[in-house]
Symmetry: C2
Subunit: 276 residues, 2 copies
């Protein structure tokens, strides 16, 4: 019997029973595809669970939809990271989107996701999608005032994604947005990764005029408590417009809904206190 444990900190972890396991060493990281009894297929990068068939809908919906609903008319969207394709799949649920770019540094992640995670990667061949196998940091050097929405779908700030949680990088993201542009970033767990969380949100606050942090329940992520942060220089993130709710009605989702959107920024006291 095979068991896999992700040590979310040196002192606690998530343990899952495994049917089958496959490991690939890429140029950047160790990629593990597990077939688990509880969560279906699970993608693990350098020992950290990235996505599972059973709970991926929560992360991908909650990273993509708040930003795309908040933007009045998102046509050009960029996802940095997210080689599994789940975020792109959610982006394409918005009919206004004309171009969805994916910038993933590790080609192997894309290949493996296409082979083992078809329900997640299913839209990567959509004609609206263009995939760039590039370093997000370099990619943004060549894009100025282009995107309406940029989604940072990154692994933890250790390893390949480390530089992408810094002020310099968020400034590049800001410069790559055109008027009314909005960024959404996964900003780690406020419970088991307090320092990662605080640092990411504080760096974002230094760069953008408006911001708002929200949470979602993600069973296979540290503490099951995950954070995301929306930011913009033009759009007041915390203000709601009636028209945003019309767009939600037509979205096919399992977690995100009008109630979740209305109460997005209603977060527990200790989480607000961390980012005051």
């Amino acid at each position: 019997m095979i068991w896999f444990t992700e040590y979310q900190t040196p002192n606690t972890g998530l343990t899952v029973k495994v049917k089958e396991a496959k490991t690939v060493k890429s140029k950047y990281q160790e990629i593990l595809i597990l077939d688990t009894y509880e969560y279906g297929k699970m993608l693990v990068l350098d020992g950290a669970v990235q996505t599972t068939e059973r709970d991926e809908f929560i992360y991908h919906e909650m990273l993509a939809h708040p930003a795309l609903i908040k933007h009045p008319n998102p046509e050009r969207v960029l996802v940095i990271g997210g080689g599994d394709g789940g975020t792109i799949r959610e982006v394409l649920k918005h009919p206004s989107v004309k171009e969805a770019h994916l910038c993933e540094i590790d080609e192997e992640v894309i290949k493996i996701s296409k082979e083992y995670l078809p329900t997640i990667s299913c839209e990567l061949n959509n004609p609206k999608v263009q995939v760039f196998v590039e370093d997000g940091n370099k990619f943004l050097d060549e894009r100025k005032s282009y995107y309406d929405v940029i989604l940072l779908d990154l692994s933890d700030p250790v390893g390949p994604a480390e530089a992408l949680f810094k002020r310099e990088f968020y400034t590049k993201v800001k410069n790559a947005l055109r008027e009314n542009g909005i960024m959404a970033a996964q900003t780690e767990s406020p419970f088991l990764q307090e320092l990662y969380f605080k640092t990411a949100v504080n760096e974002i606050k230094q760069v953008f005029k408006y911001f708002g942090t929200y949470l979602a329940f993600i069973p296979t992520y540290p503490a099951g408590m995950w954070s995301f942060t929306l930011a913009s220089d033009d759009v007041d993130i915390l203000k709601y417009e009636e028209s945003e709710f019309d767009k939600i009605k037509d979205l096919k989702t399992k977690y995100f809904c009008d109630k979740i959107y209305t109460s997005l920024f209603s977060i527990p006291k200790f989480v607000s206190d961390l980012i005051k």
Copy 2:
């Protein structure tokens, strides 16, 4: 090096590194007190984590405060289960409370909590508190129209607490409430314990006129996604009064706050769908 894993289902679990462990066999269950590196002291009953020093504030605040805020003037409160004393501690933060009764079946849980979990059990000797070592089911047979708020702080519906998740028991709870009485119950995880969750909420719906289900992030509970249900025959649970928010201002809490209260019933779509 000692590690402990709670198998939240046969196929997944929470793993923690342990400094010290002590086991006591009571008349009802196996009681384990672990001193863990990540979560501090941890109370485990029949293999299931009940509370930890680090994250207990979330469960106890979220079980107690919504009901006590919703009730216009809670004077008499009963906690069934909850031998660790954490819920009683939160109840006593409400100045209107004159009598707080605790009905716990297993005296050993109370003893061990007093010895090993002083920050949780700290109010059990408060003069407003009366402790009854009794079966909750029998206890309620003798109490009619007495309490303003009853809090069901129960372990999973297997073992000692099984009968306390059934319609017959919820009916006894209803009969033990006086006018404007409110019940709050922990109703399991909608993610890894879908059937427990659905069953508990559906039984409650059969018994009470008004109800409302809400969630909280509890890192050491299954999936980190936990549910609670408020119910009443007289108080419209989903309706808010201005005066409720005045009471929140004076509460000293770490998780619960006015924002959490306002958006209490804004739950993910798949969770609402389970209890439609």
